[in-house]
Symmetry: C2
Subunit: 267 residues, 2 copies
Amino acid sequence: MMRREITGFSNPTVKFLRSLREKKHRKAAGKFMAEGLRLLTDARESGHVPETLVMASGRDPHPLIDALEDAVSAAGGEIIETSPDILEKITGKSNPQAVAGVFDEFDTSLSAVDRTSAKIWLVAQELRDPGNLGTMLRTGDAVGAGGLILIDDCADPFSVEAVRASMGAIFTQTVARARWDEFLPWLRGGQGQLVAASLRDAVPYRGAPYSAPCFVLVGNESQGLPEAYEAACDLRVTMPMRGRADSLNAAVAGAVLAYEVLETLEA
Amino acid sequence: MMRREITGFSNPTVKFLRSLREKKHRKAAGKFMAEGLRLLTDARESGHVPETLVMASGRDPHPLIDALEDAVSAAGGEIIETSPDILEKITGKSNPQAVAGVFDEFDTSLSAVDRTSAKIWLVAQELRDPGNLGTMLRTGDAVGAGGLILIDDCADPFSVEAVRASMGAIFTQTVARARWDEFLPWLRGGQGQLVAASLRDAVPYRGAPYSAPCFVLVGNESQGLPEAYEAACDLRVTMPMRGRADSLNAAVAGAVLAYEVLETLEA
């Protein structure tokens, strides 16, 4: 087993791990970091083993840590032990029980999407909040979606915040990124119903004629969807709005709609 | 009209406004800050006028700003103009178009809750994320809920993050805070069905026998609800979980459930 102890703050590995908190460094390295024993265990159980595992030396023993270490060893990865101070510098958290792993970013081209593998796909356009993005991945896991397709300029799905909010779904859901003018021809090149939560020319979301594979599209947090994108949808549905506002949080709207689609397709 | 220009960073008013970003100072003053023209306009249209309105001097004119200024004047409030630098110090944002208002915190005792005024109430236990809290307020507005009741140690509903995520619903939804052992006797002192999203001894959420006023209870982001709290509920319901995980984001779970309750009660 490759096992190293790192004691210096200026060690290049520490600098590298810390740099993964920034998008440009993730992009340059093609790697991302996931933190927390639960998340890393979800990853392992989904067949994703970190190439590097980082934890504090002298950490309390734990059977799930042992299982992680075994998996990393078996895959030829590296285990790094360091001081609680340095660990805090890497993870940004003052938790000496913290554990973090480095993974290769996944292929996020549309060719990674096998639309026949699931009845529901979530699609988000210009979703800017990484927490919303992670929450949508988590919802996708819950409704049995195949994954999340990110349209135009979205938050980075490999950011620490998105990975954390996904509660492990980053490892089980397919994630793809595309411009709208790539996505639409791809979608129309096969089966698929595109459904938007909309206020324009929409039917009630309850009892709408959803069909699989159903692509549930939500728009940007403040602007919603561009009109032309809504017009390109096969179905526009609206949810009751009984209050002052005319919209929901994007991740909430996607979830309420996705559960309705699930209930319809499984009925 | 009370109108003041403030030019110094060390001005006590600047220090006070800036201090409202911290909970202890909000609590001491009994006041909170809301930022953004849209939010302040929502507040005004809901009958909530800030006692102090802050903006940059030389700001671009805007009819909604004029309307805000008029309302603040009419209510005997104060308008403060300052430099973009000082405004940034107050709001934490480098947007010279920013506008912020100071409001009295609302009464958050259970006596503020008129349970007969709505068919749905949202209830959250130890909700720690202010973004989730604000999102639940926003969802509550959308489903026509009366408000949000916060049980035990929750995030502060008057934090900048919660107010922002509420998208103005902080001004339209009733917010109450109580310990569980205050809440339960209060609830049982009148009509009300307590419903939890649960995995224990639960019926499917779809088609469950909801009745008004329905109190939709969600638990802490990582721990869920204590077993004793679930046991005290009139109805435990479960949502389909088709993936690896056994739970949803708390605000998402509350929204999916609240929409189901709305559809049932209005059917």
